[in-house]
Symmetry: C2
């Protein structure tokens, strides 16, 4: 491995360089970027954090090498990532698509503005694909968080002590079918199904917002099923580029699912991230909620 | 016509009896039950209102013959409807599916409880089909509001002064495709699409709740498209029994669409009701919002 650091003594393979170079992590909100960083550090690879202003929490990055950036601020990122010797870039965490007026466009981005604007108008996936092209044109490689730290992914089967029952499995199947049907529309990654009744489909409000809605409708007697019936189902969109947008759950998901009066949370195994897994399992067991990894083998 | 009232002097055709008999209107919330009643009265037919407690507004029924009933309170309805000489029954207005504990089960309903319970667990459409069977077994005929008062239906084309533009038509098409895709899941009848981006799919919260959500997300900068872009699209579910569940818009829909910052409202023509049409057109023109009847000719 020492040879890799001296290009005159060996011609390293691209894969090996990638392993050696520091990993740039562009961090959205939530705790998942930190979980990815910790997993990558445990594997012996250096990380450089690029928390995004307005998305990432201020206090979390002091203990890592880091540079704050603004959304779609390509030039500043490229400058610092090069200086830090990064080549691979991970996008991870909650990204709130900003109002266009809030975008801080630097010179590099401005030159690319027509392409970014077209992407921006085309929906999340296209925006991110457009951004990815910018990075790739500048010699960086976008990798998925699940590629550099596969241990963050949801395993198949029950995650805590409880497992779904027959009715829950029927709700899970219906939710997966629904998410599959709306996949082509680039809408939410989640739905709530209770006793075969679709209570909510995630839109711009996000998963936590959708669960809060169920909780609120329940207090007004608008949810027909009793407390303890119903499942939050999360799955990636069929055409989703998982390098940008892995579905994720964490302790907050469990808390919100409990408030919504659900029986459990089901997430596609191997294609969704669990933030703070120990806390998720503890919170789920305490609330008598199941958290379940779905082995989803339907064709994508 | 006078002959019809004396069964010994003529054998009337069933259709003619239906025309002569008073129309029972089981009234949910909102102003549409009153609009239907007015339209039927203008056609010279007597109406008897059966406002449902918890759904219909208390003050609205004083000027009509009326009997308050509780949800799924079949016996009380059957008794009064027979005494009033009704044979045809219309269900119309906003129905909030009640928590099971709130159902007032009388003796007739109790005998039918197993079937009602099965219906209740199967989703809205099945609940209503189950209730319809009860009425039909007792000699009543369920008719659609659109059959007794077709003038309440949304016409094709612009409803006020404004018409959708090219981008709006693209959003409408995408919304219709989405609603078509989720039709088999017995979920909402409405969605919001802005610049090709699906912002919301209606669930248990209803159309007004969904629009209020868009307005709230917009104040938090979570809606990527500017004010004046985006359409509320409403269409009946493909398998929907229109005798029970016609999509509807009214002045409140326009107000909520304005608050949500949309360009307009599009509703399938001929299969959705407009409550207070003059007020809808006035409110839309004042807010510079289009209200448009979609000639939806896709196969159902």
């Amino acid at each position: 491995m020492a040879d890799m650091r001296n290009p005159e003594r060996a011609v390293p393979q691209p894969e090996s360089i990638a392993q050696e170079s520091a990993l740039a992590i562009i961090c959205g909100g939530g705790s998942i970027p930190l979980a990815v960083a910790e997993a990558v550090l445990r594997r012996g690879r250096r990380v450089v954090m690029f928390p995004v202003r307005g998305w990432a929490e201020r206090a979390s990055f002091e203990s890592y090498p880091h540079h704050w950036i603004a959304p779609v601020q390509a030039g500043r990122f490229l400058h610092h990532a090069r200086a830090e010797g990064c080549r691979d870039v991970v996008f991870i965490g909650t990204a709130v698509r900003p109002p266009f007026r809030a975008l801080r466009l630097d010179w590099t981005t401005l030159r690319l503005l027509p392409a970014v604007w077209r992407s921006y108008r085309g929906g999340d996936d296209h925006l991110l694909s457009g951004v990815a092209r910018i990075f790739e044109q500048h010699g960086f490689r976008i990798v998925g968080a699940h590629e550099v730290a596969p241990e963050i992914l949801m395993p198949a089967g029950p995650f805590g002590s409880l497992a779904p029952g027959a009715r829950d499995h029927a709700d899970i199947a219906r939710g997966l079918d629904l998410l599959h049907a709306i996949g082509p529309f680039d809408v939410g990654q989640a739905a709530v199904v209770a006793a075969n009744h679709v209570l909510a489909v995630e839109g711009a409000e996000g998963t936590d917002g959708m669960l809060a809605r169920i909780a609120e409708l329940r207090t007004r007697g608008r949810i027909p099923t009793p407390v303890g019936v119903g499942v939050l189902i999360k799955a990636p969109k069929p055409a989703q580029d998982r390098r940008f947008d892995l579905p994720a759950i964490g302790p907050k998901t469990v808390v919100e699912a409990v408030r919504a009066g659900l029986a459990g949370v089901a997430v596609t195994a191997g294609s969704a991230v669990v933030a703070e897994p120990a806390e998720v399992a503890t919170a789920a067991d305490k609330a008598k909620l199941f958290v379940f990894g779905i082995a989803d083998d339907r064709p994508q």
